[in-house]
């Protein structure tokens, strides 16, 4: 390990130079701005949508209920949320295998908020050259004013982001009025500021460092790549040898390729890499270099696509295979898990029952000579109003049930009951048998659930 220590140091201690990405226009820039506006719009708008006189999407942590429009999930439904996360992860794998880092370039919150922050920065400080000049300038009145203005707007935007984030977990309208009257709880205040600070730090200061040093996906996404995955690539064969030339000069006569070495592809890159050095994990696939290079090629009357979306196979053999085992595997897995999730949600019972056998006694013989097994029943009411349930036991003829109390369960609560199941031993031929407990709501027979247990008698 020690022999690796200096290289480890090197990795951890790489010096960072501030990156001032140049503004870019073009097809992919338009796509990115569209994605950014749509996603930011959704993020800030969704908590304000109302449904049945409540917030439509609310992960109500204080009440331990998750509302997704008409669907109400309880902590016991954690499996569905886990399923949703698995579907999200598999979608990411699938899209990565097909189209590379689409997520990073267009949809990742880090990209989305960094774009928004950079837009604010450009509006206040100007484009790349003006920003570099401003950063090098001594700290005078204009610089101080510009920086204070930028950071103030960033901070306000971040705090609004923090407020919206907390608004997903506690009703946003109430939270807003509490904020206006300065009467929010200490933890709500803490999380608004914490998330606001994280947004300000990540999108304002850290930017590409989040992708390079913090993002685990950036490190393992190459595992989902193959030679047919869409990547942004520089056509070395066409571009090299690179070099400056006059606009009307014939590159062939000069012995040059199509790359004029203008370095615009480096200047527009939000992570500051040179795409001409080959595929790098820092590349977030935003295609800013594609847009800017196409504009340069257009000006020079060269064919576009010196830097382009392509695949390794297309670069070498001119063809890409979209349908391949990796893609089929991810797609099938995604379909199966998403199908199971939808099936589970559609068939989700509004009541749940868990049976735990009494661990202390296997069975006991009553004064009447019956065999009794004791079970602890947990009845989960997943609906938003209270219910009284009928509990029945079946599986062996002649079973009797004795409950210690009525099975009344409040909305969203779990009730625990002790259930004694009795039988005349002569009615039971085997030493043990499976039995079923069924709970059914008294006012609605369709609300029902069943669970299995084991009944044991003396040999």
């Amino acid at each position: 390990m020690s022999s690796d220590a200096p290289s480890l140091k090197q990795e951890l201690y790489a010096k960072r130079e501030t990156i001032h990405p140049r503004a870019v226009t073009g097809l992919f820039a338009r796509l990115r701005v569209t994605a950014v506006l749509a996603l930011l719009g959704l993020y800030y708008f969704i908590p304000w949508i109302q449904w049945d006189e409540r917030q439509a999407i609310l992960f109500d942590l204080p009440a331990r209920k998750f509302y997704i429009f008409g669907l109400v999930l309880w902590p016991q439904d954690f499996i569905y949320l886990s399923g949703l996360l698995i579907v999200a992860a598999l979608s990411l794998f699938f899209f990565t295998a097909v189209a590379g880092r689409l997520w990073c370039g267009y949809a990742c919150p880090q990209t989305v908020w960094t774009e928004a922050f950079m837009w604010i920065e450009r509006k206040i400080e100007g484009d790349r050259n003006q920003r570099i000049k401003l950063d090098k300038a001594p700290l005078r009145h204009k610089k101080i004013w510009t920086k204070v203005l930028k950071h103030s707007i960033w901070i306000l935007f971040s705090l609004w982001t923090g407020y919206t984030f907390v608004g997903y977990f506690t009703p946003i309208i109430e939270l807003g009025s509490k904020l206006l009257t300065m009467s929010t709880g200490p933890w709500e205040t803490f999380w608004v500021f914490f998330y606001g600070f994280a947004t300000y730090g990540n999108a304002g200061w850290m930017r590409e460092q989040v992708c390079i040093y913090m993002c685990p996906y950036a490190r393992f996404q190459s595992a989902m790549f193959d030679r047919n995955t869409l990547i942004i690539s520089y056509d070395k064969e066409r571009g090299e040898p690179r070099g400056h030339r006059k606009r009307k000069a014939d590159p062939k006569a000069l012995g040059l390729g199509s790359c004029i070495d203008c370095k615009l592809c480096v200047q527009v890159c939000p992570t500051g890499i040179d795409i001409r050095d080959g595929l790098q994990y820092q590349c977030i696939g935003c295609a800013a270099c594609v847009d800017v290079c196409d504009q340069v090629m257009e000006k020079l009357d060269y064919p576009k696509g010196l830097v382009r979306y392509t695949t390794e196979n297309a670069m070498e053999h001119g063809e890409t295979k979209l349908i391949r085992p990796r893609v089929i595997f991810y797609a099938l897995l995604l379909l199966v898990i998403a199908g199971l999730l939808v099936f589970g949600l559609v068939n989700r019972s509004p009541v749940g029952i868990d049976i735990i056998r009494d661990r202390n006694v296997l069975y006991r013989i009553t004064d009447e000579g019956l065999v009794e097994n004791i079970y602890n029943l947990k009845i989960l009411n997943k609906q938003e109003h209270d219910h009284e349930y009928r509990v029945e036991v079946s599986g062996i003829d002649g079973l009797q049930l004795r409950l210690d109390k009525l099975a009344v369960v409040k909305a969203g609560q779990v009730a625990e009951l002790s259930a004694g199941v009795l039988i005349d031993p002569v009615l039971m031929t085997k030493p043990s048998a499976d039995i079923s407990f069924t709970v059914t709501a008294l006012e609605d027979e369709s609300i029902t659930s069943q669970s299995e247990a084991r009944f044991i008698k003396p040999r």
């Binding site: 390990m1 020690s2 331990r64 902590p75 933890w187 999380w191």
Partner: protein, 89 residues
């Protein structure tokens, strides 16, 4: 270990970020099965709201994660006494 500004920042990231992610996951897992009121009662911490319970548990798990990550990083960066500095490649 805590050399330049840049290095300090990166050490900070290595220690706080993975522990933050883990704390988030474990907090979600924990409270899927346990009500924060019940947990707080069990360990004798007074919490006047569930949000306080979630927050305290998250911050506690984050702190534990930070300590673990810092120890791991410290062990990684400790030179091997068996080798001379000049021999390291």
């Amino acid at each position: 270990m805590m050399g330049t500004g840049g290095s300090r920042k990166k050490v900070l990231i290595a220690v706080t970020w993975p522990s933050f992610v883990c704390a988030g996951i474990f907090t979600a897992l924990l409270f899927a099965f346990v009500d924060p009121y019940v947990l707080m009662d069990e360990i004798g911490v007074h919490a006047d709201s569930r949000l306080a319970g979630y927050s305290l548990a998250f911050l506690y798990l984050w702190l534990v994660g930070i300590v673990v990550a810092a120890m791991a990083l410290f062990i990684m960066c400790t030179p091997d006494p068996g080798k001379k500095e000049g021999n390291q490649t």
